[in-house]
């Protein structure tokens, strides 16, 4: 069965700091990868997704993620975070032809003004 690991459970940063959240997936075949964000009290929204092609994917709000197949990783990055980035971030994967997403346990990000 697929699994997605997010090793950072809670990250606290100051505004303008750089961010990198880790995500590792287990499936060895063709994989689709996603990062979702959940702002306090809101539903999940898609930040970015990777299907194929350029392994560096750019999403909304200045976020990007890099797919590194050899490391089974899809880490999320942002060069300079803002207070409004305070949220919970979920990495998710699905393998080709599968309708179901497998989510990681999430990383809570707190930005200190």
């Amino acid at each position: 069965a697929q699994s997605v690991s997010q090793h950072n459970h809670h990250v606290i940063l100051s505004e303008a700091a750089s961010l990198e959240l880790g995500c590792n997936y287990s499936y060895g075949g063709t994989v689709n990868l996603f990062w979702y964000v959940q702002y306090p009290g809101q539903h999940l929204q898609l930040l970015l997704k990777y299907f194929s092609g350029d392994p560096l994917v750019k999403g909304i709000k200045g976020f990007e993620a890099e797919f590194i197949k050899s490391k089974f990783s899809f880490n999320l990055r942002k060069p300079s975070v803002q207070w409004s980035d305070t949220a919970e971030y979920f990495c998710a994967s699905t393998n080709f032809g599968n309708e179901k997403l497998t989510f990681g346990t999430g990383t809570r990000l707190t930005i200190i003004p």
């Binding site: 809101q42 539903h43 999940l44 929204q45 032809g97 179901k100 997403l101």
Partner: protein
């Protein structure tokens, strides 16, 4: 275009009571999903549907039933609620696969359920 909506937003039940959560989408999506979100466990798939009249079990289906009588609606039922079902429930929908690529899931606002 409302996207994915869920009713109710909040509910408190006593152990043994039953209830139905309603999810509706107006995007003509084929696939619909029910998840539960618990602290430290991320989102776990309860049941899903790949089309009207079809449903399938997800990762944590026990204690829940679902129905997809209309394409736009996906109902989640709890026949006899238990405290372990206290959670936030999210519905999601997505297009069917096109050309082999996977389409993103769109999520509803969630239902916070407490079982006493």
């Amino acid at each position: 275009n409302a996207g994915v909506t869920q009713t109710p937003k909040f509910r408190v039940l006593k152990t043994g009571q039953s209830m139905t959560l309603l999810c509706a989408q107006d995007m003509n999506h084929e696939y619909m999903y029910w998840y539960r979100q618990d602290p430290g466990m991320g989102l776990r798939l309860i049941h899903y549907s790949v089309g009207e009249g079809t449903t399938a079990k997800g990762e944590v289906p026990d204690g829940y039933n679902v129905s997809r009588l209309k394409k736009q609606n996906f109902l989640l039922g709890l026949e006899s609620a238990a405290p372990s079902q206290t959670s936030v429930y999210f519905c999601a929908s997505s297009y069917s696969r096109r050309g082999g690529s996977y389409n993103e899931q769109f999520f509803g606002p969630g239902t916070r359920l407490t079982v006493l």
